[in-house]
Structure formats: C-alpha cells, structure tokens
Symmetry: C2
Subunit: 210 residues, 2 copies
C-alpha cells in the first residue's frame, strides 16, 4: 500500500511538472496503477506458488535422504544440538529420540536445517489479492485531486497534502504494529514519498526543458 | 528487477495506446523509474533499519526477561524441546545445559522463540542499493525503443519484444537458482508482464476514448 501511494503520487507529480493537461496525468496514473497492482499482486501470487513447489521438492528430497543416508542426516541433527551448546551426551540422546519418528525427523530437517516453513497456499492467495487491492486503493488517493482540477500544479499541491498525510498515517500505524517509534516511522515513510515525488518532478522538468 | 522491467514497460504500453508523441512516454517512463527506484530502494533501506531497531529492542527485552523471570523463560526453552518430541528427561537436561550461558540462552530465545535472525546492517544497505539500481536498469530496457521511434505504437512493438525476452531470461535464471522448472518460471514472469501491459494499454485506450 505504501508503494501504491508513493509511486503513482510521484509519477503524477513528475507529469505535473511537464504537461499542462490533467487528463494525461490521469491516464498515466491509472495505467501505472493497473500495471503496478497486477505486477505486484499476480507476481506475489506466482512467487507464493513457486515457494510451495520449492518446499515440496525439498520435502521429497529430505524424505529420500532420511531413507538413503540416515547416518549423514543424523550427523546434521547432532550438529544442530551441538550448535545450541548441549553436551555430547545430551546431543546423543536427543538425536536418538528425534530420529525415531521419520516424519517428525523430516519436519525438523526442513525447519531447522533448511530454514523452510510450510507455506500456506490459501494465505499466499489471500495476501496476493490484498497486495493488488491495496495498490489500487493506495494509487487512487494521490490521483483523485487531478480529477477535480484542470491545472496540473493545483492538482499536485492538493495531491501532495493528501498523500503525505496518508503516508504519515500509514507509517505511523505500521510502526506501532512492529513496535518501533510510530512518529519516527510515519515521518520516514512520508519522507520517502516526498523525495520520490521531488525527483520525478525534477527529472520530468529537465527533460521537458531539453 | 522484474518489477523494474514490468511496471515501466506496462506504463509505456498504456501511454502508447493513448498518446501519439513518444516524448511524453519517455517523460512518464523516466518519472516512473525515478519514483519506483527511490520508493523501493530507499523504502527497502529504511525497512531494513526498522528491522534492526526491532531486533535490538527485542534483544534487550529478552535479556531483561532472562534476568527477571528466568523460570518462565526456562519453561519456554523446555516447550521448544518438547515440541521436537524429546522425552521429559532429555528436555530437562537440555534446558539445564542451555541456560548455563546467558548470552547463548538469549540468542536461542531470539532465534527459536521469536524466529528473529540478527539482521546485517551492511547487507541491508547493499541490498537496498541493488534493488534501486536494478529497478533503473530494468526500467531503461523497455523504455529504450521509444528513444529511437517517433511513433508510440512502433516503439511499443519493439519494447514488447525486448521486454518479454528479458522477462523470460530473468525468470529462467531466477527459477534455476531456486530449483524450480526454469522454462516454466520464465514463462510465468513473462506472462505477468504481458498481462500488466495489456491491462494498462486497454485502460488508457478506454479513458482516451471517453
């Protein structure tokens, strides 16, 4: 959503510096929103699917290894307990108990040797959908002032005010969830948006002047 | 990089459907590249910094808890070993050995209770820089044909050919690294780009027709 706010906002800002008609800004903005939401939403969905394929192929491989080279796999379990700082004796006992149940053993290898958590297909689908929708909602916000003003610069001013406030609010609540300073987080996200828009505006102006 | 290829490509495609001058497509494209590279690069960098702050605040909290409520923290270590399927006896021994060294104990809690790996500040900086640069490089590719052709539709045709080939190559090698079918992965990434561009083009055409 933060990208969805920032990129269309900065693009519209850039175009405001180069063209007079807000019509074109709206066309470019909506094209960008369509492109961004599909690239991120669909891209995220397919990345999730790839992750599931990857997990399943690794799972199959671990099952085979546990059958074919159990001694080497036991060594790997032992290494894990050794790294935790457990004594030789406890390592040994833990390995013996751990490797009794092959399914549990394989789960353990997946999680702690390979660092892979079982991906959730349903959640991946939902998350991709949310990303796509957030990008659209986020993108409509900075673009909306251009619908009401014929002049690009006026649209830009209103868009900047609305978008920077939204970015601050977004950054504020996101930071509160992750447990960092909310005001600092809000200012950070706002600053990125402002810098991106200023750069896009400057670049568009420079090219237009050529 | 995949987003860097896809979004500017689709945006340019959309504008090709609505405007005649490639000049404007180039301005919008470069503004989008500036905005996207800053939003993603700087955004990624600040997200990395936030992650480090979050890690450090959790680390401090775990150190305090180990001092103040060691019994509860020991229970949590024991739960971890119980979940692995170890016997009551081995759980007990493991907890006793594990919690002798307080630093190791806290490291263990960070990693296995909270699932947090120590973030690497240098790597976060480098990765953000790479994301920003990749977005710029990726964006220049689909935009380049518009520099050489005055007609948007001709530019779009060349851009589509170049970009879809690049997306396929990119998807191919990325899939090879993650160990999934390379051709399938290449086609997937290519398809996302094509769908995003087609949608952007259609939307721009529809609005232009209003």
């Amino acid at each position: 959503m933060s990208d969805g706010l920032t990129v269309p906002f900065a693009l519209a800002a850039g175009l405001s510096g180069a063209v007079d008609s807000t019509n074109l800004i709206i066309i470019a903005g909506l094209a960008e929103i369509a492109a961004g939401s599909i690239a991120m939403g669909l891209g995220g969905y397919l990345a999730g699917k790839t992750e599931i394929d990857h997990y399943n192929s690794e799972l199959k491989r671990e099952h085979e290894e546990v059958e074919l080279v159990p001694q080497r796999e036991k060594e790997e379990v032992k290494d894990f307990f050794a790294n935790l700082g457990l004594s030789e004796e406890v390592q040994h006992q833990a390995v013996n108990e751990m490797t009794k149940d092959k399914d549990k053993w394989v789960d353990f290898m997946m999680k702690y040797e390979l660092g892979l958590d079982k991906p959730d297909e349903k959640r991946a689908r939902k998350s991709a959908f949310n990303i796509g929708i957030s990008y659209i909602v986020g993108g409509i916000i900075p673009l909306s002032p251009y619908f009401f003003f014929k002049d690009g610069i006026t649209g830009l001013k209103i868009s900047a005010i609305i978008t920077l406030i939204c970015l601050f609010i977004f950054g504020y609540f996101k930071s509160r969830i992750t447990g960092v300073s909310p005001v600092g987080g809000g200012l950070r996200v706002m600053l990125i948006g402002a810098i991106a828009a200023a750069c896009a505006f400057t670049i568009a102006r420079l090219i237009e002047g050529l």
